[in-house]
Symmetry: C2
């Protein structure tokens, strides 16, 4: 049977993530993989989670195992709202929260509620492949705005908004961006918000890495400056607690939330209740800030080690970002080099990274950039892998 | 700020589930609610789940808490495939399985992969409100085919397929249907499959209640008769293990599965790993059949008690289904009675049910039918609630 004529137009054009294919190679045990984006497993509070699970199953098993409500487990919603108010000054009177099954679902529901086929989404160029693919599954048109050292180029952003009446949404990861590691400056954040208000489009502020700052000064979230309801804030437990439990949250104006809840109902009814209870108990009775501090130190060490190895082994015509947090470094080679081809050579030498084109609005255009991840790697592997990569770059550039 | 002009067309028309609104009333502690659809909490194997959680967190915590793969936890996939092969003779050589975050997501991904806006979906009339709403969020056109005592009316089904070239999918719950409790006969199942093949449309066979048979002879699933790949099978852990853990699975031809996996990636990346491991361990080391047998006995008792109370207290011009399994009874009043209005009166007397229009393709047309659920109710409440309802019906009919 030929299924092709039954597949929807919007899905016909979407391919499996390029990263997935790379993982098949990178996942081999003898390959040093800088291709991933996983949190360090040392950061998972396993013993605490075990205590919590026993407590829940002893005292509230039915709540954990029975159907829940689409908006999320009420104590978790309240704990997250309080924490976000305290840490990020997020949450106006007209805002509400919904617990979702990971950040990707936060992006999916936002797309479902806002986008008609052909509607436009502005994204940073480069940006997170997962959410770009989500927008593609709604047949949205992606408009990439190039990243400067301090975030989106505001002039290009305004020009894009002015030219394209179909734009509904600006998608941004302002803090320790995936894949670039860039943090948008306060001026860029304010500029984005003003333009969103001026052209009446929404901003989806995706902030999974925000708490993983290990140097520099904290910069306010865009949502904390939002007085008009134009910003949808997407926070996640994946990088500060556990990604396997699939927990994230959206905070936004009630006027949009109402439809997000209907979308959530029609998508997976509600998020895993047991996991929501585990996270709630952890926030309430344990010290998540202490646990995040441990991750910060670990990532700072690994990031700085990787950067110092790159300073030593990489040729001088290669540049790269020096992130203040998060888990990624973005490397720029001289124009004309195709990092897709380079990746195949690197894999032969048992080192993996993700070529830049995977993060672009046009996946087929070769890129002279690539992404490195340092969050899960031992010192030995960072040193060995970066040296191998440096040797390859010196041969090819 | 007015968000209405930013909302997508497909979501503008979809309302929050009517059942949700009813739940707000029905959830009050002094109301006897036959409006729900929850499994009996006595059936949750709490002690076993606790043992399993400790074992997982002692021995494989990183696997449970780290990112997983979109297709699902491999041991769970294999255990489910083996079980479905043994119990239902499901799974051809070209079939594959994906673990999803509950049945609703199975329906959502099927809709995402098959449906363009305006494409047609045939459903039983009445049918499960949750999945009808999912199709609505894709701007699909719903075609209801009336249910006879033995399932869909095949003549109307063929006429509908013949007349409407836009139809891509037939959605059916052939066993102990929600809301009607009707089980489609073998002849109807064969007829549906033949028509799907003839008109080259897919069937989504949703079977969450199939294992909850408490009387009558087992009838083969449509998927077990599918030699051409036209049937997508949707199974669930919600009614036989735990709904709070959000675990279900799709089994279908690899030619469609490939796109379902891409959709899953773009929707929530993967299903909660910890929960998948809990279910896998339960299937492997415990006796799920014994646990299901306990549920069957419980539901048989409650169903038969409810039916016998209805025989005693309901007026003679009221008819109702006598299900062989599952958790729902469908009540038909004389034409012209609006069960939406009747429900408000019933709630005043502290009894709740769901009026029939909630399960129809046209939600706004009054219905003379309603749904009763018996799965979570004590004997006392069944007797008391049905008597109150019977008295109300006698007064109004």
């Amino acid at each position: 049977m030929d299924f092709q004529n039954l597949i929807s137009d919007k899905m016909l054009g979407v391919k499996a993530s390029a990263i997935r294919e790379i993982f098949k190679v990178a996942g081999k045990p003898d390959v040093i993989s800088f291709a991933g984006g996983l949190p360090a497993p040392e950061s998972f509070p396993v013993a605490d989670i075990k205590t919590i699970c026993n407590d829940i199953l002893d005292n509230e098993p039915i709540t954990a195992l029975q159907y829940g409500i689409s908006e999320g487990y009420v104590p978790l919603k309240e704990l997250v709202l309080n924490r976000m108010k305290e840490k990020e000054d997020i949450g106006r009177e007209n805002d509400d929260i919904i617990i979702v099954s990971g950040s990707q679902q936060g992006c999916d529901l936002t797309a479902k509620v806002l986008l008609n086929e052909g509607d436009g989404v502005i994204c940073e160029e480069p940006s997170f492949i997962g959410c770009l693919n989500t927008f593609r599954t709604y047949n949205a048109k992606l408009y990439g705005v190039p990243m400067n050292e301090d975030g989106m180029d505001l002039a290009v952003l305004e020009e894009t908004l002015k030219k394209n009446q179909n734009i509904k949404l600006i998608y941004t990861i302002p803090t320790f961006q995936n894949p670039s590691g860039i943090t948008s400056s306060l001026a860029v954040r304010k500029g984005m918000l003003e333009l969103a208000q001026k052209y009446n489009v929404m901003i989806l502020e995706d902030n999974p890495y925000g708490e993983l700052r290990f140097s520099g000064e904290k910069i306010p979230t865009i949502k904390s400056m939002d007085t008009t309801g134009h910003v949808i804030y997407l926070g996640s437990f994946s990088k500060v607690f556990s990604p396997g439990l699939r927990l994230a949250y959206l905070i936004m104006d009630k006027g949009i939330m109402e439809k997000i809840v209907v979308g959530k109902q029609a998508t997976d009814v509600h998020t895993n209740v047991f996991s929501q209870m585990i996270a709630a108990r952890y926030l309430k009775d344990y010290n998540i800030d202490e646990s995040i501090e441990t991750s910060r130190k670990l990532y700072k060490h690994r990031c700085h080690l990787m950067l110092s190895c790159m300073d030593t082994y990489f040729p001088k015509n290669v540049s790269y970002t020096r992130p203040d947090g998060g888990i990624f470094i973005w490397v720029t080679l001289p124009e004309g080099v195709d990092t897709g081809k380079l990746m195949l050579e690197a894999v032969e030498r048992k080192v993996a990274f993700v070529p830049g084109n995977a993060f672009m609005t046009d996946l087929d255009k070769p890129s002279h950039c690539f992404r490195l991840n340092y969050s899960t790697m031992s010192d030995e592997k960072i040193e060995k892998g970066i040296k191998i990569l440096g040797d390859l770059l010196k041969e090819r550039l």
